[in-house]
């Protein structure tokens, strides 16, 4: 079956531009997570949704970062006025339900490069 997909796979943005990164979770998965992975580091938690509710956004690094999941399926991570330090791979993960969200299924990521 289809796994988690993310688009675009690669994005180059000029400093100051806004970007939108899309995540299509596995159909029916309740929980959705966004992570930021800098080069040579592990994924760092950004935010968590349970259906359409954003239950935790404590990992978002600044108010330039915004995530939504309006219908409880597809999610978009938006970064406004991108900065060079935003360059990273952005990973999305989903899990079947809140109780078993320990086992996450990751997408391939979007590599964002800010020039």
């Amino acid at each position: 079956g289809a796994g988690v997909s993310q688009s675009p796979r690669y994005k180059v943005a000029k400093r100051g531009q806004d970007v939108a990164l899309r995540c299509d979770p596995i159909s029916g998965h309740v929980s959705l997570f966004w992570y930021q992975q800098a080069l040579g580091q592990g994924p760092e938690f950004l935010t968590y949704f349970q259906n359409e509710a954003q239950l935790d956004k404590s990992g978002l690094p600044s108010d330039r970062f915004f995530a939504e999941r309006p219908e409880g399926s597809v999610s978009t991570l938006k970064i406004q006025r991108t900065q060079q330090e935003d360059s990273a791979v952005y990973l999305c993960a989903s899990s079947p339900d809140a109780a078993s969200s320990y086992e996450q299924y990751f997408g391939p990521g979007t590599r964002l490069t800010v020039t």
Binding site: Q41, G42, F45, L55, Q104, G107, P108
Partner: protein, 111 residues
């Protein structure tokens, strides 16, 4: 401050031998521990997990050990195969659904 540490960035093992990957964590309140495997240009894939009430979990060639007093987690792969060559991340979680990942260990299994 890093909640999860993988102090070995890389590890090389001969095919057929045991691979041992290590992970240390700081917060004794974590209640679930996981290992993920990652190939280049792909997202991490779940490998094996263990809850804080256990000290060992085995799945085929993969065994995870948890030493709560030492706040230490390890993954044993035996026998190691060339297809196991990848980056391995340990991760911890609490009931708040916040996950913390280590920086990864790149395993190379030499044929």
């Amino acid at each position: 401050d890093q909640q999860v540490k993988q102090n070995s960035p890389s590890l090389s093992v001969q095919e057929g031998r045991i691979s041992i990957l290590n992970c240390d964590y700081t917060n004794s309140m974590f209640d679930y521990f996981l290992w993920y495997k990652k190939y280049p240009a792909e997202g991490p894939t779940f490998l094996i997990s263990i809850s804080s009430i256990k000290d060992k979990n085995e799945d085929g060639r993969f065994t995870v050990f948890l030493n709560k007093s030492a706040k230490h987690l390890s993954l044993h792969i035996v026998p190691s195969q060339p297809g196991d060559s990848a980056v391995y991340f340990c991760a911890t979680a609490n009931t708040g659904n916040q996950f913390y990942f280590g920086t990864g260990t790149s395993l190379t299994v030499i044929p």
